[in-house]
Amino acid sequence: MKFGVIQFPGSCDERDALAAASRVGEAVLLWHRDHDLQGADAVIVPGGFSYGDYLRAGALARFSPIMTEVERFARHGGLVLGICNGFQVLCEAGLLPGALLPNVSLRFVCRQVLLDVVNADTSWTRACEPGDQLSIPAKHQTGRYWAPDPVLDELEANGQVVLRYATGNGFNGAARDIAGVSNHAGNVVGLMPHPEHAVDPLTGSADGLRLFESAALVAV
């Protein structure tokens, strides 16, 4: 199992994503100017502030050369996980539905949150059971998930709402408390909280590891 973690100018969580992925497989760093994925079985678009969040969070990173490869990889069923800014990038690139808006509080919020696993049948959650709760940190200012109501209905009907903030844990005003969604096929998942920061009990929780383990299960 080989994970590729993309680094854009302004990424800041690629090292933690590498360290997390290394616990369940091989992990390599991919530079945003690269034109190949180095044979990765799964690609992680990490958190941070790619291109300084200029224009809109995630809007410019999708024009990096490697994103052409990621789009091709995703269309062929390749596993892609977008975390925080990576989630924003995948939405802007059209690989995931919806958009991320500024938190209702307009504040950057950093806190541990409980997430309900809504769909344990995606490539990135199948090491979980439906109804499992994961304790994972969230840290962002632009994480209010939004899509038009008919789209939200469709996402729920298709099982594309993968993770929700558990009751009392939502803080950003996300539509229907959505913390993470998938594409229709379930191979591309994006979420605002940071599973890569929750892979060792030393830092409070190892629940985030389950997402990486899920991808490894698929690849085997």
């Binding site: 919806g98 808006l101 307009l106």
Partner: protein
């Protein structure tokens, strides 16, 4: 040609920035202000203003969450999409 693109949150989408400004104005004694929305202004020189709508759709705005207005001399004053 010099063009200006005004981008604002789509109507109906909660705009906390606009709300914060709306709440702040009365504190300075400016009463009777409603429906404040905060957006962005993009100014640019373009050789072919006919390309502006596509630029907006593909990059300058996110049409899912934002409306835009194009202002420039040669494109019939203003073109708007909402």
């Amino acid at each position: 040609m010099r063009a200006r693109v005004l981008i604002r949150p789509k109507a109906g989408i909660l705009d906390p920035q606009g709300q914060a400004v709306e709440r702040a104005l009365p504190a300075l004694g400016f009463d009777g202000v409603r429906n404040v929305h905060v957006g962005r202004l993009v100014e640019l020189d373009v050789e072919d203003p006919g390309q502006l709508p596509a630029m907006c759709e593909q990059l300058l705005a996110n049409p899912l969450i934002e409306d835009y207005e194009i202002h420039g001399g040669e494109i019939h004053g203003a073109a708007a999409r909402s």
